[in-house]
Structures are given as structure tokens and as C-alpha cells.
């Protein structure tokens, strides 16, 4: 590379016009003024400033980590999608905002809880009555009423059920429901005769009694159907809306597809969806399906709740959901008061929560409150019961289970937050036994003894003297996951055995679980679809082996299967509890899994948005019960976001000084 050759060319700064420093100064000043005028509020202006009665317009600001997959109630299945849909679509039943232990259903769009009727032929029916005067949100799709939302009727529930059977909707709930609801399978078969689903084909298991009463006929006892009625899957849908929003051009205008356009009947109507940015909702003025409860408040919230007892819902006017997949910006927005809560993720945990699980004093001083949300879920290590080494040797499995120090694990990787699990059913779900003692819990000495009894004293095969090698199927997609895998390796190797970590992606780990290509798999888990023990024990039912189900351990014990079949169709009561205990004992005896922990989220709520309710089945949901004090927020936000002026002056001074020095240097050297 040439350096230009020749000698040094006399250097000179171009131009000696005295106006240059002045121009620079003006430029810097305008830049500083621009900075000073910069607003750090990322949100757009609310739809209104005040309500019709003159009181301030209240907006709730939430952050969610991912874009919705759909707004179609019969299609959505992820927690995030349900959180996004929940303000728009009410459900036939809902989780009681006051009761979390155990989580309990209550009537929402229905007048009362469905009445169970056992038929002489062994089939079971549920009689349901819809509340009257529930209306859809106003929308152009209601052409007959000139855009005014019509009343929700039983035909809409039937239409929702038909949509579950329509293959084009791709509802993931068809498979579980066709086994339970009479005629659902046949509806799909008959409806698809012409290749395109025919909505003239009724579901024979759905009996419409009148415009507001229906009976759902099931093939046999299945009390969990009530939980399905508490999901968006069974939420009524207007046929007009589905047909109107077809994603096609009409009169030169493109109509969105129903999959991304919500016409619901919930407390809020969706006004805007800006992909990968935000979803905006506004209060539905015609909402009177529900009011704030008047009694039964949890003692710790009674003071806040009493203020709202009997008030019409929702308690605020506008909901703004911001899509924030990144943790740091989410935390910054919460700190500045631009989101109504701060989620204490792993990285943010120490700065939000103290080691004794209290809110950090700086947040307490701000008036924030700490919410602890235990989502019903269980994580575990999964043995492959078909594996010739671990699958056939119960003492070896028990030895490995007893070598697992989950308390230390949780302390290191989850800041000690996640409760260590000792049984399949998590806290808050019927059947959880707080007094249960896991016989395979951590005890290193016992583990060594069991290993010797299993035929591997000191970790070596008693016959051949070879060291026992066990391969752990582990998802390693980042530093933290690698640290966890290394910790697990050390934890088991204390027994003298050799652990090989089969590092792969999460997708590959799942594939291995499904194909059975593993010995021991780490990080398996189950989050409740509905809060019933059946939803957890089915993981060990022999008929649920992959690909038909999630019995990844390939656990099979006829006695367990019989108990499961009996328990799954029973109503809650002492008999059911006895069966649950029996199944827990069988799992402890056979040890197909090693329990790890349950999932818990900590969240710091802003002083203007203290929680009025508990919610465990859908994290951060039940928007209609939330309250917001917009006046307090405005005051505190202004206080927390004052922009200091000194850095601007410092920066300006530095730039002007530097410039002045350069000009002087130039004059001294070149004039």
C-alpha cells in the first residue's frame, strides 16, 4: 500500500472564514436544543385524554415478549396468544380471580356453572345457559344491523365447535376434543366429503335447546370438559365476522383475514394491531357481562378490592400491549414507568428482588408492590424406560435421583426462586400434597449405596469393572445452558460414574424424546393446559406414548394405567385423592423421572397499578379486573423522567472548546 510517496505536503485546514466557528456553534446549539426537547416516552398519545364525564382517561401499559400467532380463538394455543385474546373474547367459564389454591373455575358468559347430567347409556351431558344481552363489538361485518354488534347466541358456540372440526382452521384442539364430544369426529368426516368443510353439517353432540341454552353430549364421564369451556377454544364466534374478514379484496379494499382480526364480545375491542410493535384496545362501552366481585377477596388485597366492589368492568379505558422480546429494554421501560410492571427475569432478579424474596428498597420507596406468580408447571429429568441400562434398573434410577441436589441447582441457576419440586402435581392444582416426602430426594450417601446395590459400586460395573457411562440429552443453546449441563455432569459424576452430555438444540432434544433415542433427558417439563391432575398424570399413561402423546419416559405399568383411567373421569373428592396418592407412590417406586422445580415469576407492579386479583392460569391476564390511576402515573412518570441538563452543557462546552482549540492551533501554525 502506497503512503502517497513524495515528501510531506504542507497541511492547512481549508478556509479561514471567521463565520465557521459561529456556524459550528449554531449547529451544536441546535443539536443540544434538539436533545433537550427529546421525549423518552415510547408510547403514542392515548385515544382520548378524558372520559365523557371529565375524569382522566386510564390506560394500562403491558409488555409481551412475542408477536401473536393469531387472533382466532379456535386456533390460538400459546400463553401469549391467550393473553392477547383475553381482553377481546370472553369465555364461557373463567378462572376465579380470587381463588388460586386450588385454581377454581366460575361462570363467565354462562349464567351458572354447567349442570352435569348422566344418561342411562353412560354418556354424560352438560346443560349450559348463556347470559342474555351479551353483545359483539360493533363492526362492519354485522351488515344486517348496520354495523351494530348483535347478541351472542347458542348458534355461535355451535359454530365455534364446527370451526374446531374444520381442517382449514388447523385447530390443535380437534384431536383431544374429538375423543370426548359426541359427533365431532363425524362432523369432520362428513363435512369434508366435498373437499371443503361444509358448515351445514351439525355436531350431533351439541344440542341447541333455545337461543340461550344448549347441552353438550360427551362420550363418557370427562369432568375436565369444564376447563375446555374455560378456554378461548370454545369461545363463541360470529359467523358474519369469519366470513366477512376473508383476507380478500372487496370494492378495492383489502379486508384482513379473520386470523388477524378480532370481533369479540369481551371488555375491550381491538382497535389496532401493528405487527411486531403493539396491540391497542379500547374499552367496549356495551360490556356488562360481569362486574367486579363484591366479596371473597383474598385478605392481602381486600383493601384495594373493596374500592371496586360491584363496579362495572373493565376498570380502565385503554390497553396498550407493547411487543418487547428483549429483556433489557423491557426492564428499562418498566424502570422509567412506561410499563405498568417490571418482570424480574433472571438477569434483572437481583436488582428487583432481595435475597429474602422481598422487593428491593429502592422500588419499595417508589411505592411498587411485589407479585409472585406461580404458574402451574413441573420440570423433571426423564429416564428412557426402554433403555437397556437405566430403563431396566430401578435402583440405578433411584441412585441417580438421590444424587440430584436440586436446591443447589435452583440457587445457582434460578436465584433460589423456583420451588424445588418433589411430586408430579404442582402447587395450586387439586391433588398437590404439601406434606408429601419424596423417597428419592437428595441424599448422596443413599445414592452411593443404591448404586452399589444396582450393580455399580463406586460407579463401576461389578462384573466387568468398567466405569458406568450415561448419556444425558441436553439442550445447549448458549452459555447459561452449557453451564447448567456442566453442573449436571458434575452432580451425577459425584457417584463415580461418567456422564456424557449429548449437546443439541431444543428441537433435537424434543426429537430424541419422541424417537426414544436417549438415556436420560434434562429439562423436560409440562405446563398445565388446565388445572387438573389428569393433565399431569397423563404424561405417564401408557397409551400416551409418542407420537400420540407426551409419555416420553415410555412408562408403562398396567396398575398405574387403571388408576389413571379411573381418576381421570372422577370428580374431585377423597376417592380421587386416594388414587392420586397411589399413583404418586407408583411413580416414586418406579422412579421414571427425577423432579426438578416448578415455575415462578416475580413481578414488581407500579404504584398506580397495584394488583386487585390473582391469576395463575394465564399469567398477567384478567385485564378487566386491573385498575390504573392515571393521575398518579402522570405525576410519578414526570418525576422519574426529568432530563438532566448538565450533560448537554458539558458536551457543548467540550465541543466548543475543542473547536476553538483547533481553530487557534490552525491559525498559530498556518497563518
Amino acid at each position: 500500500m502506497s503512503d502517497g510517496g513524495g515528501g510531506m505536503i504542507p497541511s492547512a485546514l481549508p478556509g479561514r472564514d471567521r463565520s465557521v466557528p459561529v456556524l459550528h456553534f449554531a449547529f451544536i446549539l441546535s443539536g443540544l436544543l434538539f436533545l433537550a426537547g427529546c421525549d423518552n416516552n415510547p408510547h403514542p398519545a392515548p385515544y382520548h385524554k378524558t372520559r365523557p364525564d371529565g375524569s382522566p382517561w386510564a390506560v394500562r401499559y403491558m409488555g409481551l415478549p412475542a408477536d401473536p400467532k393469531s387472533f382466532d380463538p379456535q386456533f390460538v394455543y400459546t400463553t401469549i396468544d391467550q393473553q392477547i385474546l383475553e381482553p377481546v373474547y370472553d369465555k364461557l367459564l373463567e378462572y376465579d380471580p380470587r381463588k388460586t389454591d386450588p385454581i377454581t373455575l366460575r361462570a363467565a358468559m354462562l349464567e351458572e356453572m354447567p349442570k352435569k347430567e348422566v344418561q342411562p347409556d353412560g354418556t354424560v351431558s352438560y346443560l349450559c345457559r348463556l347470559k342474555r344481552d351479551i353483545h359483539y363489538h360493533d363492526d362492519p361485518c354485522f351488515e344486517r344491523t348496520g354495523g351494530k354488534g348483535r347478541e351472542v347466541v347458542v348458534a355461535d358456540v355451535h359454530y365455534a365447535l364446527q370451526r374446531i372440526a374444520d381442517p382449514k382452521v388447523e385447530s390443535p384442539f380437534f384431536a383431544p376434543l374429538e375423543q370426548r364430544i359426541i359427533g365431532l369426529h363425524e362432523t369432520r368426516e362428513m363435512g369434508m366429503k366435498t373437499g371443503k368443510f361444509d358448515y351445514a353439517t351439525p355436531v350431533s353432540g351439541f344440542e341447541q335447546i333455545d337461543s340461550h341454552t344448549f347441552r353438550l353430549h360427551l362420550k363418557g364421564p370427562y369432568p375436565q370438559i369444564l376447563y375446555w369451556l374455560g378456554m378461548h377454544t370454545m369461545s363463541p364466534v360470529a359467523r358474519e365476522a369469519v366470513e366477512y374478514y376473508d383476507g380478500q379484496m372487496h370494492d378495492g379494499k383489502l379486508r384482513p383475514s379473520f386470523r388477524f382480526y378480532a370481533v369479540g364480545h369481551g371488555p375491550f375491542r381491538m382497535r389496532e394491531y401493528i405487527p411486531r410493535r403493539a396491540i391497542r384496545y379500547e374499552r367496549f362501552e356495551g360490556y356488562h357481562t360481569d362486574t367486579f366481585p363484591t366479596e371473597g377477596f383474598p385478605p392481602e388485597r381486600a383493601e384495594v378490592c373493596k374500592k371496586y366492589a360491584g363496579k362495572p368492568l373493565p376498570l380502565f379505558d385503554e390497553l396498550f400491549i407493547m411487543i418487547v422480546p428483549e429483556l433489557i429494554p423491557g426492564f428499562v421501560l418498566g424502570r422509567q414507568g412506561f410499563l405498568d410492571s417490571i418482570t424480574a427475569t433472571k438477569d434483572a432478579f437481583p436488582s428487583v428482588v432481595t435475597p429474602d424474596r422481598q422487593l428491593q428498597p429502592k422500588y419499595k420507596a417508589r411505592g411498587m408492590t411485589l407479585e409472585r406468580i406461580g404458574f402451574p408447571s413441573t420440570f423433571y429429568y426423564c429416564f428412557n424406560m426402554n433403555d437397556p441400562v437405566v430403563g431396566k434398573n430401578v435402583k440405578l434410577r433411584k441412585a441417580l435421583a438421590s444424587a440430584c441436589d436440586m436446591r443447589a441447582y435452583v440457587e445457582i441457576f434460578y436465584s433460589g426462586v423456583a420451588p424445588v419440586s418433589n411430586q408430579l402435581v404442582p402447587r395450586g392444582i387439586y391433588g398437590y400434597n404439601p406434606d408429601y416426602v419424596d423417597p428419592n430426594a437428595f441424599d448422596l450417601e443413599k445414592a452411593k449405596r443404591l448404586l452399589a446395590e444396582a450393580g455399580y459400586p463406586g460407579g463401576r460395573d461389578a462384573k466387568t469393572g468398567e466405569q458406568l457411562v450415561i448419556t444425558v440429552n441436553d439442550a445447549v443453546e448458549g452459555t447459561e445452558m452449557r453451564q447448567r449441563a456442566e453442573y449436571e455432569q458434575r452432580m451425577f459424576e459425584r457417584l463415580g460414574i461418567k456422564i456424557k452430555i449429548a449437546e443439541s438444540t431444543f428441537a433435537r432434544v424434543i426429537e430424541r424424546l419422541e424417537t426414544g433415542d436417549f438415556q436420560l433427558s434434562s429439562g423436560s417439563g409440562w405446563a398445565a393446559d388446565y388445572p387438573d391432575p389428569e393433565n399431569f398424570f397423563m404424561l405417564f399413561y401408557s397409551k400416551n406414548m409418542p407420537r400420540e402423546g407426551s409419555n416420553h419416559c415410555r412408562y408403562s405399568r398396567p396398575e398405574f394405567d387403571r388408576a389413571f383411567e379411573q381418576m381421570s373421569t372422577m370428580d374431585n373428592g377423597p376417592e380421587r385423592l386416594a388414587l392420586i396418592e397411589k399413583m404418586n407412590a407408583m411413580l416414586a417406586e418406579d422412579c421414571p423421572v427425577i423432579w426438578q422445580f416448578d415455575k415462578v415469576t416475580f413481578l414488581a407492579a407500579q404504584p398506580w397499578a397495584a394488583w386487585t386479583h390473582n391469576s395463575r392460569m394465564i399469567e398477567y391476564s384478567n385485564n378487566k379486573y386491573h385498575q390504573v390511576d392515571p393521575v398518579l402515573r402522570e405525576k410519578l412518570r414526570a418525576e422519574w423522567n426529568r432530563q438532566p441538563i448538565w450533560p448537554l452543557f458539558a458536551l457543548g462546552g467540550l465541543l466548543i472548546g475543542g473547536l476553538g482549540y483547533a481553530v487557534r492551533w490552525n491559525r498559530r501554525n498556518h497563518v
Partner: protein, 312 residues
């Protein structure tokens, strides 16, 4: 020149088919249809649900049939829908171009101007301590990871000083407040590398005979730099600058994701995380097509700018 362009276009078609083929077969080697379904639907979707999903997307057909259909779709620009949201891919990409360009075009222009200015200045004061100091500065700018700039901007300028929003985007009169930090970071991460490169190009030029002639004729050093060296150096710059244009449309993966700019870069990151394979495949296709196009345009511009070059 016409023959040259036609020939290059024909070559490009073959290269493009090669790229499509490699990505298609790599994708199918890496993941089975079952894994793809599991990734998109989640591990809880089993049996029939998964089979239907695979069937509806034609993933159960023989690979050659899938490949022919895939190529047909791409060449007719019928990209289909995303797997995760079912949204129209063409529309999704078009929605993402605007926000990406909002960051990359101003960032690119600012970086170009700043690095050209810096390079010219360094040539002007070459071999002096100032030149060496600026070289060290450029290397430092190149060496700092993008993440460090982002964390500094969000922690110091957004959280502590509260001058800018930490996150977000909106098409509104005050949208510059969302864009300023990402643009400055985009500029900073490019400036060091570009300034070093441009400095080398200008130094190459300043040793040429025409520069000596200009000095001999009494042209001032600043005019020699600004007019003669800069103009002749631009020919070499065309190659570098035009080749960067496709990157502007495809956005910046990290900056967009961390500042909440809903451009193509952040969309691609999200698609990789959620296993939305059509978005990834179409991004690769568009990236390759734009890059090949930019190479042809570079050649044409090169020939236009330098009469000594003849395309044949």
C-alpha cells in the same frame, strides 16, 4: 455492454438457483418435517395435529417435488405465507422494508460522509501523530462489539439521562427520537472500517502522477485532495458502496432487535428463533438476488465512471 449484462444476468440466474438449492437441501438435512412442526407448533402438539400441519404445507411430498414447487414460487415472487403467523410473506417483507431503511439509509449516509471526511483528513495530515491517533480511533470503533454500543446507549443515554426512548418505533412526526440512537450506532460500527479503507484508497491516489502535476501547476493541497484525489478515488469507492446497498434493505439484525425497530433484520432474528423457515429462506433468496444485482450495477457504474474500462 449489452451482451455483457445479458451474460451476467444469465450467470446470476444459475448462481441464484444454486443458492436456492443449497439452502433448500441444507434446511431439509438439518430438520425433518416432524422437527419443523414441533418447532412451530410447540412440543405439546402431537400426533394428528402435527401430521395435518405437515400435510397442509406439503412437507410430506418427495423432496424433488417440494424443490420444484419452491423454485416456482420464488421465481414468480409468490412467497406464500409465514409458518408461525400465517401472514402473507410479501406483505410482511414490504412492511419491514420501511423501518429498516429508516435506520440503514441515514446511518449509511452518515457513516459514508463521516468516514470520507475522516479519511480525507487523515490523508491530509498523513504520517502525523493526528493521523496515527485517528487510525487508532478507527480501529477502536471497529473493535467494539455492537452489543457494547447498544448497552451503553440504552443504559446511559436512555435509562440514566432519559434523552431517548430505550425501545420502540412509530411513523409519526417525532419518530426521530426512536431512530437517533440506532442510526448513530449503525454509523459508529461502520465508520472505523470504512475510514481505514477509504484512507488506503486515497493514499493510493495521492501517489499518482496527476497529483504531482497538479502540485507542480500550483494547485493548493486542499484543492488537490478535494477535487482531484477525491474524484479519482470515487471510482474505487463505487464498488464498495454499491455492494453495501442490499444490506441496507435487509436491515441490521442486532440493532433492530434491541431497539424494537420492526424491520427486516429483527423479523429475521425472530424467524430464526421461532423456526419460521419461509422467512429465513426468502431472506436468503432476496439477499442473494440483491447482491448479484448490485454486482452487475457496480460493473456498469465502473465502466461509466472510468472510460478505460470496457465491459465485454
Amino acid at each position: 455492454m449489452f451482451n455483457y449484462i445479458v451474460r451476467r444476468l444469465i450467470y446470476s440466474v444459475f448462481i441464484l438457483i444454486g443458492v436456492i438449492g443449497i439452502t433448500f437441501f441444507l434446511d431439509n438435512m438439518m430438520m425433518t418435517p416432524d422437527q419443523k412442526a414441533s418447532r412451530v407448533l410447540g412440543p405439546k402438539a402431537v400426533g394428528q395435529t402435527r401430521e395435518e400441519w405437515i400435510h397442509n404445507r406439503g412437507l410430506d411430498r418427495p423432496l424433488p417435488v417440494q424443490f420444484v414447487q419452491y423454485v416456482k414460487k420464488l421465481v414468480t415472487f409468490d412467497f406464500g405465507t409465514t409458518w408461525v403467523t400465517g401472514r402473507d410473506l410479501r406483505e410482511t417483507f414490504l412492511q419491514g422494508v420501511g423501518p429498516s431503511l429508516c435506520i440503514t439509509v441515514p446511518g449509511f449516509l452518515a457513516a459514508l460522509l463521516a468516514s470520507l471526511g475522516l479519511a480525507l483528513f487523515q490523508v491530509f495530515v498523513r504520517n502525523s501523530p493526528v493521523d496515527r491517533g485517528l487510525t487508532v480511533f478507527s480501529v477502536a470503533l471497529m473493535s467494539v462489539p455492537t452489543m457494547v454500543y447498544v448497552i451503553f446507549a440504552q443504559a446511559f443515554l436512555a435509562l440514566n439521562l432519559r434523552y431517548f426512548p430505550a425501545y420502540g418505533f412509530a411513523y409519526e412526526p417525532g419518530m426521530l427520537r426512536f431512530l437517533l440512537l440506532p442510526i448513530v450506532i449503525f454509523m459508529l460500527i461502520n465508520i472505523g472500517y470504512d475510514a481505514r479503507l477509504y484512507r488506503a484508497i486515497f493514499l493510493e491516489e495521492i501517489g499518482q502522477d496527476y497529483v504531482r502535476t497538479a502540485y507542480a501547476k500550483g494547485v493548493s493541497p486542499s484543492r488537490v485532495l478535494a477535487v482531484h484525489v477525491f474524484k479519482n478515488g470515487l471510482i474505487a469507492l463505487i464498488t464498495l458502496v454499491v455492494a453495501q446497498l442490499p444490506k441496507l434493505i435487509l436491515g441490521s439484525l442486532l440493532i433492530e432487535s434491541l431497539f424494537g425497530i420492526p424491520g427486516i433484520g429483527s423479523m429475521l432474528v425472530q424467524a430464526i428463533q421461532t423456526g419460521d423457515q419461509p422467512i429465513v429462506m426468502v431472506s436468503v433468496f432476496l439477499g442473494s438476488a440483491l447482491y448479484l444485482l448490485s454486482l452487475i450495477v457496480t460493473d456498469i457504474l465502473y465502466a461509466l465512471a472510468d472510460p478505460r474500462i470496457r465491459l465485454s
